[in-house]
Amino acid sequence: MDRTDCARVAPLLEPYADGDLPEVLAAGVEAHLRECTHCARTVVELTAVYSSLAGWPTLTSADHTLIEARQEPLAAYYRACYPEAGGPAPAGAPRAPRKSPWGVLVDRLRPVPRFMLGALARGGKAAARAGWSFVRVQRTRNVVPAGRLAKPHTAPRSRSALPRRAWSLLARSAAIARRVTERGALALG
């Protein structure tokens, strides 16, 4: 084998072992390798380097046990960061809907006995039927489609517009609440 051939092919051996050479050059190198044992051995060694490295390190069963044990603290850390699908409010995540004032009121009234709540609810329903609202509503002007007769804007309802039935129910529930509080205070001394 001509030494000049080896010198010419030597720089191509590494890319050849990686499979990075174009087909024409690779065919030339292969032709040389068939004749030159020295270069063929170099290619085998070059390939062996990578295959050895890919096979190292080998994990034993003890390593796998350790890996499983190591994953538990990570899962615990994840749970701490994301309690019950919440966590540190990632960007873009949908937020929990805000509670309405009515929901807040219901939460506040939860400790109140159920029969009182019933009376309050009946009073509230009657009030709602009469159009009376517990929450101040910002009124907007009526937008009337062109060509249709506009219904005159109803005047804002005052407290006196609440029907008598609703008032009596609310008053009764308030009286019961007062009595319960007094009795509680007496019982507690």
Binding site: E14, L74, Y77
Partner: protein, 192 residues
């Protein structure tokens, strides 16, 4: 995970993780933990240090979840974080002056010694010797050379891809690879 269950891509698992699905996070651990561990082990040469670095990588995954761009595969992100951590750890080690080399790839536990005694097959011993030589030779490389060789040999990345990951010119990657490979070749062929 059973075979019948659908295999979700990493992108979906990351999105599920953001919603607090612990199973999705565990699935990511199952999928990538060993890869990251082996990468860190190859880089540092020490199992325990590699374990600690792997924990750090997956802790960073949790803290980075809200900012993480969901990609089809999480592996490039994990690889980059793991390599950066390993390079920092190796430079810190060099600063401190530690020069421990774990030649046989293990940390010298008695259990592994016993295992070696049991291993009587000549071929297996030769393969093991070769691996230990590779491990020792890897430790003689510079951290960047080590990273380049691992990315090329194990992950099969192109020179350009490696250059982008390590933020190096492509020519530098090639020269690092060539030098490292020559050294490793001498090591694996028995130092002749």
């Amino acid at each position: 995970m059973s075979v019948s269950e659908p295999v979700l891509p990493d992108r979906d698992l990351v999105l599920l993780c953001r919603d607090g699905a612990e199973n999705a996070y565990r699935a990511l651990l199952d999928r990538h933990y060993v890869y990251v561990l082996k990468l860190c082990w190859r880089m540092t040469g020490v199992r325990d240090e590699a374990m600690d670095l792997t924990q750090e990588v997956f802790t960073r995954l949790i803290t980075s979840l809200p900012r993480l761009q969901p990609q089809p595969s999480l592996r490039p992100w994990l690889r980059r974080v793991a390599l950066n951590l390993c390079l920092s750890a190796l430079s810190a080690r060099r600063r401190i002056g530690q020069a421990e080399v774990c030649v046989n790839g293990q940390d010298g536990d008695g259990e592994f010694g016993a295992r070696d005694r049991v291993d009587q097959v000549a071929q297996a011993v030769m393969a093991r010797e070769r691996l230990s030589r590779v491990a020792a030779a890897m430790q003689s490389l510079s951290p960047v050379q080590r990273a380049v060789v691992i990315l090329k040999a194990v992950d099969g990345l192109s020179h350009g891809h490696i250059a982008r990951i390590l933020d190096l010119p492509q020519g530098t990657v090639k020269s690092h690879l060539s030098r490292a490979r020559t050294r490793l070749r001498h090591a694996t062929s028995g130092g002749e």
